[in-house]
């Protein structure tokens, strides 16, 4: 097995605005099973941050435990990283984000990490609206511990060993909508073009952004009868609309004139463009978004694309009215104002 990635790259590999090639956004060679959907998602993450020209050292990637949570080793090798305890990525991410608001946060988790052991943490990171991209690599099983059904496995889905899952699945997108998430998307590891656009939009989104990505576990959950296999997902996929992330410098007026697309402005002046909105879904309305998810579920369809978008969210820093300055940029006197200040505070509480 090869553990070292060859040094050479395509001589005319494209560069981004920073002059970097994709190489600057890659990580170590993956040790996941060959063909794992998670690797494709890593590929999409690399491509998205590369295309956005984000300086790699401005990103912090955090994860829990699982095959999915191992992936941060395989992308953004020059970024900050924290591999936390099983299901506890949200609290570590919250702490990091509160302390240093200058970094861009990327949380990576699995369906077990999020919907089983980490459920208690997940619901709170959503309702608090932490500014983070939260990607769930959802394979309907616990891949790392050899494929037990997870809480997102569909009722009736058959495992590799042949047993049928009797329980209802947790719908992470639906739950996030319910809890007030401002950016909710679903995608499929096998649909890179869509996934890359969604990640770029989520990165630009100034609040909690969930992308629930169906990601086949080739080893334990790619069998006939599984509803998270490559074949099943390809047959049951239903995309909401084509989405494009439009960077600042791009001229957008032309498309307006055609009148087919809808552009949504982000806080930094960039746009998310939605084309040919599917009739049944309006991503600016939480109610119709919830309905669209339910309708798809009734039809055994997997709805992908941008499910819901609240263009102007209030993130946790704003809610808590925290300092504009990251803690690592404050001086010692700012951080430790001294005994007198403490007494003043205590006095004010008496």
């Amino acid at each position: 097995m090869t553990y070292i990635r060859p040094k050479f790259r395509h001589p005319s590999a494209p560069t981004n605005d920073l002059g970097y090639t994709k190489r600057e956004y890659e990580g170590a060679l993956s040790t996941l099973c060959a063909g794992c959907g998670h690797d494709s998602i890593s590929g999409a993450i690399i491509q998205a941050y590369f295309e956005l020209s984000v300086p790699p050292h401005r990103i912090a990637k955090l994860s829990g435990i699982g095959c999915s949570s191992k992936t941060p080793t395989y992308f953004l090798g020059k970024s900050h990283g924290f591999n936390s305890v099983h299901g506890r990525m949200p609290s570590v991410a919250t702490g990091a984000n509160m302390a240093n608001r200058d970094l861009m946060y990327l949380g990576v988790s699995g369906d077990g990490d999020t919907a089983s052991i980490g459920m208690g943490q997940f619901v709170h990171i959503v309702r608090r609206n932490l500014n983070i991209v939260y990607i769930v690599m959802n394979n309907g099983c616990y891949g790392l511990t050899k494929g037990q059904d997870s809480a997102t496995a569909d009722a009736g889905s058959k495992s590799k060993a042949g047993s049928v899952n009797p329980f209802q699945p947790i719908d992470l997108a639906g739950l996030a909508l319910e809890l007030g998430a401002g950016f909710v998307a679903q995608s499929f590891s096998g649909d890179k073009p869509q996934l890359i656009e969604l990640i770029k939009e989520a990165v630009k989104y100034p609040g909690f952004a969930l992308i629930n990505v169906i990601s086949p576990c080739v080893t334990f959950n790619n069998n006939p009868g599984s509803t998270k296999s490559y074949d099943y997902v390809r047959e049951h996929i239903e995309a909401t609309a084509t989405v494009d992330y439009v960077p600042l410098k791009t001229e957008i007026t032309a498309a307006y004139a055609e009148g087919t697309g809808t552009d949504v402005e982000m806080h930094d002046g960039t746009f998310i463009r939605l084309e040919k909105l599917a009739a049944h879904s309006n991503p600016y309305n939480r109610l119709t978004a919830i309905t669209a998810l339910q309708v798809a579920r009734m039809k055994n369809a997997i709805l992908t694309g941008l499910v819901f978008l609240e263009p102007d969210p209030t993130d946790l820093h704003e809610t808590l009215d925290t300092s504009e300055v990251a803690l690592n940029k404050m001086t010692e006197t700012d951080l430790c104002p001294g005994k007198q200040e403490l007494e003043n505070i205590n006095a004010s509480l008496r």
Partner: protein, 594 residues
Amino acid sequence: MKPTNINDPEYFHKVVDCQYACPAHTPVPEYIRLITAGKYSEAYMVNWESNVFPGILGRTCDRPCEPACRRGRVEEEPVAICRLKRVAADNKDDVRSRMPQIPAVKNGKRIALIGGGPSSLTVARDLAPLGYEIHLYDDQEAGGGMMRSQIPSFRLPVSVLNEEVNYILDMGIHVHFKRYVSSLKEILDQGYDAVYVGTGAPRGRGLELPGLVEAAANVHVGIEWLASVAFEHTRSIGKKVIVLGGGNTAMDCCRTSRRIGGEQVKVLVRSPFSEMKASPWEKEDAMHEDIPILENHVPKTYVAENGKLVGMTFEKVHAVYDENGKRSLLPIGDPDVFVEADDVLVAIGQQNTFTWIERDLGLDFDQWNMPVVDKLTHQSSHPKVFFGGDAAWGPKNVITAVAHGHQAAVSIDLFLRGQDLKDRPSPFTNLVSQKMGIHEWSYDNAVEPDYRYVVPQADKELTLADRKLEVELGFDLKTAFKEAQRCLNCDVQTVFSDSKCIECDACVDICPTSCITFTPNGEEEDLRHRLNAPAVNVAQSLYVSGALTTGRVMVKDEDVCLHCGLCAERCPTSAWDMQHYLYKVTKAGHSCSK
């Protein structure tokens, strides 16, 4: 695009850039791997079978393979293919037992080879094992042609030359040395069943300029002079030497001069330095021996005093190009330059000479007085007479002469067996999976990042003092190993099975050089521009699959594939496999293939 036909023997052959570029199509990566395995004799034999003179070529080859080497497209420099060949030659054991047996009972057909250079020797080597009786005629005192008379010993020691020439002569070849053939008719009249003309381009061009008559005693034609040094008729030259010309012959003349008395040796060339014909490494070696190369100097007159040469005058020019890129050398208007000299060596070109071939034998010549020879079969308009090497289409190099020899031998064998010469036997090919385990290959797939290693040279003081002392020392075995590891194993092919692919993208993500794309099909022009990395090198093929489940196709740009096997390692279904492709040009009667 239509799905690629990988059953066409030329498809994967073309992917092995070095082998494809080698006129004799030596399986280069094959012998380089044998060198890393320490199997020098095996590596030698892979070479010997294809290029006949591994020790000689490992020192002197023009190396058309190196500019073609894939490594040069992913980093600065190609693999030192040529000098690795020498490693095999220098470190092999006795290889005679690996060479073909010569039948004691002959097949009754007699063949005459005229000229004893590399092309004739190749014909001899290919045909002797088939039982032909072979007679070789050459005007020199030993075999090897220009490899003996022209290539100086400091680049090619005589011992190396003799060894490889003798492997062939010892196959029971009847040699007739010091025999200048002055009539082809005479040869034909001796009843040979076929005649091969491998007489090279033996005549050097002189340069007539004012003053030549008076200076003639010290003006020498380069290749004649080199031959006379090689055969030790000439043992010294004046202190001040002018060499005229910008090709490899000029480089050999100036470097030889430095070794037999020349102290101030200068090369003067009409063209700009960058457009000289000499290989870059030949120029470097000359300059390293304190030989200035003066560009843009057009010779005007020989200057003699008291009946003896004292120097030459030159006009200074510069190159001007018209809209078609055609060059003219125009005077810059400076006064003529006088350069002192005791001797002048004229190295401005070589010519063929066929005065010894009667024009009434049914052998046609063209308007330039060159024989009419079929490009494929090497047959002339006289069915029994074949041409090859420099004699066929003008001066080239040793490896081309060898390649001609192989093809001519195939033709002669077909001819004497009464078969159609145009119906060439197909090459030997073999494609075998290298899979050893889930993630294991029977070749070393890791890609080493090392830059090209430099071949060490002997001390200049020593080499300039001894004309026969070889300048290059060759790689030591440690360095040879490291250099060999730079080879990308381009003969281990990425082979794709449409039906196995589940379109998981794993191969696309892992490929370090972005070779693989899954995309809707299209015409080649269009496809080349919508791959993950633009496929701008149109000399390299696109490998296209049939339609996959989603209707897309797999397109792989062969251009900068590292043959690292990562795609195949990451593929969950083994839709990619790494398979070793062996391609051997057919030799006459399959004499050398196992």
